[in-house]
């Protein structure tokens, strides 16, 4: 059975993609945040514009900050969002 992760989007990333959350089937090999973004961009439209510039994005895996090179495993929750502006 293939591994599935949950992806969550926030702020303008969510607005451009049009979704707050979705599930994603992990491919074979060693998927990372970067390879997952590349695959999501293949869907075109909002995905391509929201995820193109990696510098404008920050990531968390299971609610801990993660780098683009970080690996993903089944049941992980990957969050993709702009740099934070709280406080």
């Amino acid at each position: 059975m293939p591994g599935v992760i949950t992806i969550e989007y926030f702020a303008w990333v969510r607005e451009q993609i049009g979704l707050a959350t979705e599930t994603w089937v992990l491919p074979e090999g060693a998927p990372t945040v970067d390879t997952t973004l590349d695959a999501l961009m293949q869907r075109g439209a909002g995905y391509a514009s929201a995820l193109a510039v990696r510098d404008r994005l920050r990531f968390a895996i299971n609610q801990d900050y993660a780098l683009p090179s970080h690996g993903l495993k089944p049941s992980d929750v990957l969050a993709i969002f702009p740099p934070v502006t709280g406080g």
Partner: protein, 154 residues
């Protein structure tokens, strides 16, 4: 320990200070910082600000930030309250309160917590005016301030 809360409701700074002080005679210094919704006056008036957040992550990160401050300074008590939802100009957004025997720890830890909140707490602000709505951009100065704490010896 430092208590942490993420909520839509307004907070009362005086009430929070009273809670920290209650029954204690060991606190010599109590510092509070309150962050407010500001209308920067450059362009049409700000009508409202909406704070989005990542619920599962905010509590975790605020807890981690609070624990780090607790490790670095001799604090006796503290509170972090961060609101989310839709706020109006002059509304209170965030409270950081720190209590210690002497003022250095209270002042420094409060500044540290705010610098960390600005760069690590998963909230995103959207401002709305007559011109429409736009997402606030992070400031380079905030990132630099946060990084400076990494260089400062304990």
């Amino acid at each position: 320990m430092i208590s942490v809360a993420v909520q839509t409701e307004a907070f009362d700074v005086a009430a929070e200070m009273a809670k920290l002080r209650a029954g204690r005679t060991d606190i010599g210094a109590l510092v509070t910082f309150t962050g407010l919704v500001r209308d920067n006056k450059a362009g049409p008036a700000l009508s409202e600000m909406t704070l989005e957040h990542y619920p599962a992550m905010t509590e975790k990160q605020l807890r981690a930030i609070a624990d780090e401050a607790w490790q670095r300074w001799p604090l006796l008590a503290g509170t972090i309250i961060h609101r989310y939802g839709t706020l109006k100009p002059a509304d209170e957004i965030v409270l950081v309160a720190t209590a210690s025997a002497h003022r250095d720890a209270a002042f420094q830890s409060a500044a540290f917590l705010m610098d960390w909140l600005k760069t690590k707490a998963p909230f995103w602000k959207k401002e709305r005016s007559a011109d429409g709505a736009h997402w606030v951009e992070p400031k380079a100065a905030d990132q630099q301030a946060a990084e400076t704490w990494q260089l400062t010896t304990k």
